[in-house]
């Protein structure tokens, strides 16, 4: 099934308006420069890029993903969730970065915790690949976009209060994140994620994500 969607995506991209990556990079550079000037400290810059990403990802989900397709694909069992991430995770990367990424999913807990890693294809250009000051990681914007997009997808699917999803950069080569059922012990979920990727919550904690989602999208996820 995923293969069919991938072909459909390629066709969609071939027949819909597109833009040279240089345009996107120039605009993104302008945005990052503004944030750096405003915030200065690289950690604060990364947090602000993440926040901007959450907003942008939510708008992208609303404008680009047909609600009917989301509903058809959403199956709330771990295997179904993994397939959902594979299709929409790849689709988003394909639309915004211009190529199909390498994507791995893993079920961390059969009751409903699915881990995902998206890695860029080496040598391919993308809007976020701009020179930034030391310590500034533009993938925070991308991770925020995935977090905002996924939470918005939950809202469109009517499962906003049953699932949550958090995303962070993956050591400069992509992003990683997880989907989890909210009725699980969230401390346990956090521990499972930390075992998978120890630095996941280092800069932006679980509760930081909750604050940013609430302040930008009005989405309330449980704090721990």
């Amino acid at each position: 099934m995923s293969e069919v969607y991938k072909i459909a995506l390629r066709l969609q991209k071939a027949f819909t308006p597109t833009v040279h990556v240089l345009v996107a990079k120039t605009l993104f550079t302008y945005m990052v420069s503004t944030v750096v000037r405003e915030r200065k400290d690289p950690r604060a810059v990364n947090t602000e890029l993440f926040r901007q990403g959450i907003w942008g990802g939510s708008l992208a989900m609303l404008n680009l993903a047909p609600v009917g397709s989301l509903r058809r694909l959403w199956k709330p069992d771990p295997g179904g969730v993994a397939r959902f991430i594979e299709v929409f995770g790849s689709a988003a990367w394909h639309i915004f970065a211009g190529h199909v990424p390498s994507l791995r999913t893993e079920i961390l807990d059969k009751r409903g915790v699915v881990w995902a890693e998206l890695e860029e294809v080496p040598g391919k250009d993308a809007f976020y690949k701009v020179e930034a000051p030391e310590g500034v990681d533009t993938l925070y914007f991308v991770a925020g976009a995935y977090e905002g997009a996924t939470q918005t997808a939950y809202r469109l699917l009517g499962v906003e209060e049953q699932w949550l999803s958090l995303w962070r950069p993956l050591e400069g080569r992509g992003i990683c994140g997880f989907y989890a059922r909210r009725d699980l012990d969230l401390k346990e979920v956090e521990e499972a994620v930390k075992r998978k990727k120890p630095g996941f919550f280092d800069l932006i904690s679980w509760n930081d994500s909750a604050s940013i989602l609430e302040e930008t999208l009005g989405i309330s996820i449980p704090r721990i």
Partner: protein, 233 residues
């Protein structure tokens, strides 16, 4: 305990009674937790129909009533929920998310509590501020002392940076039948294809995040066609 969706009911229950297996989803009509042999915590969703139903056929005797308001938003008490809280001899208005609240919000909520004759507490489940005082009041009925009420964290807040504003464009052919919440109806009425989310929020006196939430739901129901980016000067 009742309050609007997202006001932090489940989080507050967990902060007050950490041993309880709290579920973080909105209960259908109500959800009961056994805090001890003598105490049950009942979580009631912030919906007038749930309150009406419970008042018509109360399945328990309410001894303590808590009405929650979200300190990170406009701290207005939902008057539709008030009758349930007033049915209790001991009742209070609780401002949640104190760590995100401005001192102005705390002042407004305190005045609101005074107006509707409720005791007042400001709490943060994240920092634990105000939680012991509220717990003591619930268990002993000891009146809160206004001067000792916790104050919001004195911390220099960094001004949030601008987010790209967008105009929700209503669909020319909205669905003939759909159920909309009062918030969604208000936002849809304000959508004229020219006003942005921030401008609608200002007009309705709510946060842009609240408008965004309603817009998302209107979008999924087919009332909003697209979101147009807008340059705001």
């Amino acid at each position: 305990m009742t309050g609007p969706k997202g006001s932090g009911k489940s989080t507050l229950i967990k902060a007050l009674f950490p041993e309880l297996p709290v579920r973080f989803t909105e209960p259908p009509i109500y959800r009961i937790y056994e805090a001890s042999q003598a105490m049950r915590v009942v979580e009631v969703p912030g919906r007038a129909d749930a309150v009406r139903l419970l008042l018509a056929a109360p399945p328990w005797k309410v001894s303590v009533g808590l009405l929650l308001v979200d300190g990170s938003q406009q701290p207005r008490a939902d008057l539709d929920l008030l009758p349930l809280v007033l049915a209790a001899p001991q009742r209070a208005l609780v401002l949640t998310k104190l760590d995100l609240a401005s001192s102005e919000s705390v002042k407004l909520a305190r005045a609101e509590a005074q107006k509707i004759d409720l005791d007042f507490f400001a709490v943060s489940a994240v920092t634990g501020q105000g939680i012991p005082e509220l717990l003591q009041w619930i268990t002993t009925g000891a009146k809160p002392k206004p001067p000792e009420a916790p104050q919001p964290k004195v911390e220099e807040k960094i001004a949030p940076m601008f987010l790209a504003d967008v105009i929700p464009v209503p669909s020319p052919r909205p669905p003939a039948r759909a159920t909309l919440s009062p918030e969604e109806e208000a936002v849809l009425k304000a959508c004229d294809g020219r006003k942005s989310i921030t401008e609608i929020a200002r007009e309705l006196g709510v946060s842009p995040a609240a408008v965004k939430g309603a817009v998302d739901k209107l979008f999924s129901k087919g009332f909003i066609k697209e979101l147009k980016p807008k340059v705001v000067v």
